[in-house]
């Protein structure tokens, strides 16, 4: 056929830089650029099309929330310190409350100062039921008591907020696994979502967080917060490749209870591709 001139190196370099600046990481960025180069696009439009689809194809189309066969459905939120778990738990409760569901929030962070107070205020704002024990109570005991409570059991959806924990702390990871077991024993079949909350401003550490939490807890989904900041959460590209069975389900885009949305892969790719 006719000679096809290659697009200049700078065009690819600019896209690779954009991926790195978006926290995709150098390996993922290089991999995406190589896959595009191997397609030998002749025009910048074709190139951009390949770029967009290379990113978009990493995101699954089936990221719907999972509910139990009968109430209550129980979802756990967990993740590293300060990622946005407590706020997100309340946001999700508010989301479903405004759709007519009865929702409950369980304050299973018994460790951090005023964590229970914080969730109590948010539960009030969300119009949600609220269950807590005293600060310092055993978190598995909170789960057991909460899911034995009539009001909580009558909710359509119960979200359990947990203490921040680094994935590197084995005893804390074991504590979390025990909490999920306590839930399953107290309300068999109710626990349908194990959601890892990732700080959208994180860098490459998000990938090892996801892998470690997944190995220990079998994640059903990811929540990415703080996408209203300047960060782009490009680490999701690597996470989606390495943990294909764990879809992104929700994104947090601000500090009020309304600032939550089901994950929209096309909107996410728009934000990344520009």
């Amino acid at each position: 056929g006719a000679f096809q001139p290659e697009l200049p190196e700078e065009v690819y370099a600019e896209l690779e830089d954009r991926l790195i600046l978006a926290d995709a990481g150098p390996a993922t960025a290089a991999g995406i650029i190589e896959s595009i180069q191997s397609k030998k696009p002749a025009t910048v439009e074709t190139l951009r099309g390949h770029f967009r689809s290379a990113i978009r194809e990493r995101f699954s189309n089936s990221a719907a929330p999972i509910f139990a066969l009968a109430p209550p459905t129980v979802w756990f939120v967990f993740g590293t310190n300060g990622a946005g778990k407590t706020t997100t738990a309340a946001k999700i409760a508010s989301f479903y409350k405004s759709q007519g569901s009865t929702v409950g929030l369980v304050a299973a962070d018994t460790f951090r100062a005023a964590a229970i107070d914080q969730l109590r205020v948010l539960a009030g704002r969300a119009g949600s039921e609220f269950y807590a024990m005293e600060e310092g109570a055993h978190p598995s005991a909170v789960i057991f008591d909460a899911l034995s409570d009539k009001t909580i059991r009558s909710c359509n959806l119960v979200i359990v907020d947990t203490a921040g924990r680094l994935h590197t702390k084995t005893s804390l990871m074991e504590e979390l696994a025990k909490m999920t077991k306590s839930c399953e024993k107290t309300a068999p079949g109710a626990l349908t979502e194990r959601l890892l909350v990732l700080d959208g401003t994180a860098g490459q550490n998000a990938l090892v967080q996801a892998k470690t939490f997944h190995a220990s807890l079998q994640l059903t989904g990811l929540i990415v917060t703080k996408l209203d900041a300047s960060a782009k959460a490009g680490f999701l590209l690597a996470i989606r490749q390495d943990l294909p069975g764990v879809p992104v389900k929700w994104v947090g885009v601000g500090e009020t209870l309304e600032d939550i949305a089901p994950f929209d892969p096309d909107a996410f790719v728009d934000g990344l591709v520009g």
Partner: protein, 289 residues
């Protein structure tokens, strides 16, 4: 780890008497990748690896039998030397000294305010804590509980940032308290209007240290964050939190490169005793994996 990757790279050229410029370029690419994997900002990774390339071309690493180790040593030493500038004694000269805590949502400001109070207590210095955060639910309760744990004074304030800062400053003067720590609400740099509140506090009382509290796992956004706070309010020092994770902490390099203000402490845990001095060699080791 960079050591292993350079080892694999130089293994292929073991027969050579010296490294060529092309060999150095290949090694420098690996250094750049390592820095980016460690969350060093793109611009800083580039600037740093160019420095390394020049150093390597002018050094004995070219003739070294153990080229990989020698190369890693150049990188490690350069990082330590550069970050050495970020070490400075945390001196407070005023009375009361006012410290203003600022940073992104969830970075660890409130906890670190408590840690600072505990740190001063250990030096027989009294502290007074108050929060200017009027938005986060139970922000005041959280700081008050931490103050109690640290055994330091807490002032309940209400109203805007300037009047609350003034109330705390005057209370410290009245009671001859050495340090005032002003906790503030988390904010992102995206909307510059949010910084007005911090400027109001800064201008209401003599603030000795404006401290940026930064999560050690922050990615490429670290530079934008630091620039926002520095341009809009001013930054005298940085505290890197959650350094007890396995994050490589490259944000520290990027932020120091931009601000050139000291990294005054590192947060290494959730309890109030987990505040440590910043050690350049430790972070250099982590960045290089």
């Amino acid at each position: 780890a960079l050591n292993r990757r350079l080892g694999a790279l130089f293994k292929k050229i073991r027969g050579q008497a010296r490294l060529t410029e092309a060999n150095v370029m290949d090694a420098v690419k690996e250094v750049r990748t390592a820095l980016l994997e460690a969350d060093v900002s793109l611009a800083v990774a580039r600037a740093f690896t160019e420095e390394i390339r020049v150093k390597a071309m002018g050094s004995e690493v070219l003739y070294s039998i153990r080229a990989a180790d020698a190369f890693v040593k150049i990188v490690h030493d350069s990082l330590v030397k550069f970050l050495g500038g970020a070490v400075a004694p945390f001196r407070l000269d005023r009375r009361p000294s006012v410290i203003l805590m600022m940073g992104l949502q969830g970075s660890g400001k409130t906890t670190t305010a408590g840690k600072l109070a505990a740190y001063f207590s250990a030096q027989q210095k009294s502290s007074l804590l108050t929060t200017l955060d009027r938005s986060r639910p139970a922000a005041a309760e959280q700081l008050e509980k931490l103050s109690k744990t640290a055994g330091v004074s807490y002032l309940r304030t209400a109203g805007d940032a300037a009047s609350s800062a003034r109330a705390a400053y005057e209370e410290a003067q009245r009671r001859n308290i050495a340090v005032v720590v002003l906790d503030t609400a988390g904010r992102t740099e995206v909307d510059p209007a949010v910084f007005a509140e911090l400027r109001a506090a800064r201008d209401a009382v003599p603030v000795e240290k404006k401290i940026l509290v930064l999560d050690a796992m922050t990615g490429q956004a670290a530079v934008n964050i630091a620039k926002g706070f520095a341009d809009e309010v001013g930054v005298d020092g940085v505290i890197l939190t959650k350094f007890d994770s396995d994050t490589r902490g490259g944000a520290a390099l990027s932020v120091y490169h931009l601000l050139r203000s000291p990294i005054v402490f590192v947060g290494e845990g959730e309890t109030l005793d987990r505040l440590a001095p910043f050690h350049p060699d430790r972070i250099a080791g982590r960045i290089l994996g």
